[in-house]
Structure formats: structure tokens, C-alpha cells
Assembly symmetry: C2
Homo-oligomer: 199 residues x 2
DNA sequence: CCACATCTGTAGCGAACACTACAGATATCT
DNA sequence: AGATATCTGTAGTGTTCGCTACAGATGTGG
């Protein structure tokens, strides 16, 4: 028995193209026609490989999360909690205004509110955002154990705060905020972080 | 010559219904069928009154802005810049988790990234968000003139920071953040504000 | 009460949507 | 080489989308 005709396109490269389209137009604003054109494949190939439009989004999110994890490792490996916060904020300001990508972040621009039948999409995006928040919180728990953060500091609050600020930066990036503007916001936020860790 | 059959529905009440649907499902996730059902009218009435789906959104946004302006007046009329920031943040935390409305804010949940043909929607929402930011900035300019804020404080930075935080709160509210969580974030943000106004 | 202007409800328009049937192509395994 | 399994491209499928033609209803002005 044979193994069948092999796939003629690179799945990861195609996912990168799909990611860009979802990122730029949101899940519901993206059409299969746009996706197949960007991925340079025909609909049957898309459906054979990813099952459905939502399946393709999840595959793209998986790939996005992979890249993000590598990036988060760099952030989390900073020596101090303060430096973690600084890197997190500043790298976000840069990433969200990187001309290589659409503005903002796929996990926000992908869709906060969707129509009937796509309720799962905002939920899926939220789960990935929560993951980042969890990583930050765990890092701050460690910092607390290492006496890098004081006893009366709440790691969950810090993580939620940073997560909120970077989500807000996504919103501003989507409406044209420059890298400098986002860095300014990041700098102010960092002061709140400092103040919070003193208390 | 006669003046024609009068409209049988209340336009403002209908707009409130439409606002809720756009808010909950986003512009692109909302269908005309959902709108007409929520508004208790038929499509021809909708199109006679508002022109198009996008026209209806703009009308709903105008009504939203009206209410928001009344609300912002209360915020901006606070005695000090610090109290303006506090009210702005805390009222946002409450409004975004008010069970009378969908979570978050129409100006964010309405749609950050839209499909081809609806590019105008994110732009329109962003313009309304900028309006709030402008109101804050002007208030801080005044505070500076009144020596309520120091000479080396940048009103634009403060306004942008508060705008970013509340936008981030919208994202968190859309994924189920509680009122207490948002208030916590608001409290941390307020510390950044205080710190920023000292410098 | 009549002419007119506008609204309302039914019913359905063309277009675009996500998705797929099918036939031919291309690999593997024996 | 032959059988088989999977992919690819063409050309659609049924459904839903935003929107509207039309006829009847309901008000105003003369």
C-alpha cells in the first residue's frame, strides 16, 4: 500500500501567511479566499490540512504561541522581577509596532467579540492571553520566594496589571500608535510596577 | 401635500438595542437579522432610518458618545488631576462590568480589525476613543495651568497612559474579568499616575 | 375626503460566504 | 511496474449575507 501524494506546500510557511491575514483582518473579517491566496493553496488543500477555518486559526495560534514562548523565555529569564517587567513591557511595545507584522497582537486583534457560531474564537484567544499572564505570575511567585519581591506583594495582581497594560497597548497600536508612544506608556507602567513592589 | 406615515418605533430605544448587539458580537459578528429582531423592526424600517449597517453603527456610536460625554463630565469636573484619574479608572472598572451592558466597551469590542470593505469601522471606533483621550489631555493641560500638576509633567503622556489602561481593561473584561479584578488594576495604575505626577 | 408622502411587512434579490465533489496527478510500498 | 493512498485544481454546492422591490397601511395638508 502506498502513502499517498505528499503535500506540495510547507505547512509552517502557510501558517505564517494565514497568521498575518487573521491578525490584520480579525477572524470574522478574514475570508477563505483571502487565506488561500495568501497561503498560495486551494481550498481543498486548506481543508485537508486544517479541517476548517477555525481549525486553521487554532493551528496558526499554536504556531504563534510557539514563537511567543521562545520570546517569553528571554523575558522570564531576566535576573529580577523588575527587569522581567521592563523587558515584557518594552519588548511588547516593539513587537506590536514591528513593521514585519500587522500592528498589535494576534491574540487581541484576532477577535474580542464574535458572532453566533464563532463564540469559541474569543474564548480561544483569551486562553492564550491567560497563558502569558500565568507565566508572569509564576515568575513573580518565584521572585517572591527568592526575596526579590516583598512579602506583601501579590504576584497575581502584578501579572494581571502587566497583562492589562500590554492589551491596552494592542488597542492603541491598532489605531496607529507609534513605537515611541507605546514605549512611553510602557515606561509609565513600569513606574507603577516599581511602586507596587515597594509596598 | 401630506407629510407621510410617521415612524412607528422609537429611534433612540432601537439604537440602544442595536448598541447592545454590536457591543456583544462586534460589528462583523452582528447580522441584520439579529439587529432587526433586537430592535423589533423589519429591514426596510432599519434602512429607511439609518441607511446601512454601517450607518446604524455610526448612529449607535453617536448615542453612545452622548451618554459617555455626560459620564465624562462628571469625571472631568473632579477637583484635582489625581481625582480625575481615580474617577476615570474606577468608573471604567465599574462600567465595563456593569451587568446591564455586555462586558467591556463598545469602542473596543465593536471591532479592532475588520474585513475588506469595513475598514472604516475600526477607524471610526478609534476616533471616538481618541476623543476621550483628548478630553483627558485637555483637563490635564488645565491642571498644569492651575499648578495642580508640575511643570515637567506631560499631559499627553498621562492621557495616553490612562487610555491604554482602560482599553486593556476592556480586553480583560471581555474574557470574564470581574469588577474586583479591574478595580485592582485601576488601583495599581493610579499609583503610576501618582508617581508620574511627582516627577 | 382626497391627494400625497412616508412608513411597514412580506418576500426575495444578487453576491459572497464557508465548504466540498470529483477527477486527475503524484508520491510510496510491494 | 502496479496497486493504493493522499494531495491538487476546477468548479461548483447550499446557505447566509446585506439589502431592496413592492404593495398595503397610516399619517398630514388642502
Amino acid at each position: 500500500m502506498g502513502m499517498g501524494r505528499p503535500r506540495a506546500f510547507d505547512a509552517d510557511a502557510a501558517l505564517d501567511r494565514a497568521m498575518d491575514v487573521f491578525w490584520r483582518h480579525g477572524y470574522e473579517g478574514t475570508t477563505i479566499a483571502q487565506l488561500t491566496e495568501a497561503m498560495s493553496i486551494n481550498p481543498p488543500s486548506l481543508y485537508a490540512a486544517f479541517g476548517s477555518k477555525e481549525g486553521l486559526l487554532k493551528a496558526a495560534l499554536d504556531r504563534y504561541t510557539e514563537k511567543r514562548d521562545a520570546w517569553m523565555d528571554k523575558v522570564l529569564n531576566a535576573q529580577t522581577a523588575h527587569e522581567v517587567a521592563e523587558r515584557f513591557l518594552m519588548e511588547h511595545a516593539d513587537a506590536q509596532t514591528d513593521p514585519a507584522n500587522p500592528p498589535g497582537c494576534l491574540l487581541v486583534q484576532g477577535g474580542l467579540a464574535c458572532g453566533t457560531g464563532s463564540e469559541n474564537v474569543p474564548f480561544e484567544l483569551a486562553a492564550r492571553r491567560t497563558r502569558t499572564e500565568d507565566q508572569l505570575r509564576e515568575r513573580f511567585v518565584r521572585a517572591k520566594a527568592e526575596h526579590d519581591l516583598g512579602e506583601n506583594v501579590d504576584p497575581a495582581t502584578l501579572a494581571r496589571y502587566l497583562s492589562a497594560v500590554t492589551s491596552g497597548m494592542c488597542v492603541m497600536a491598532s489605531s496607529g500608535a507609534t513605537r515611541e508612544t507605546l514605549r512611553e506608556i510602557a515606561a509609565v507602567s513600569l513606574k507603577a510596577f516599581e511602586e507596587q513592589t515597594k509596598g
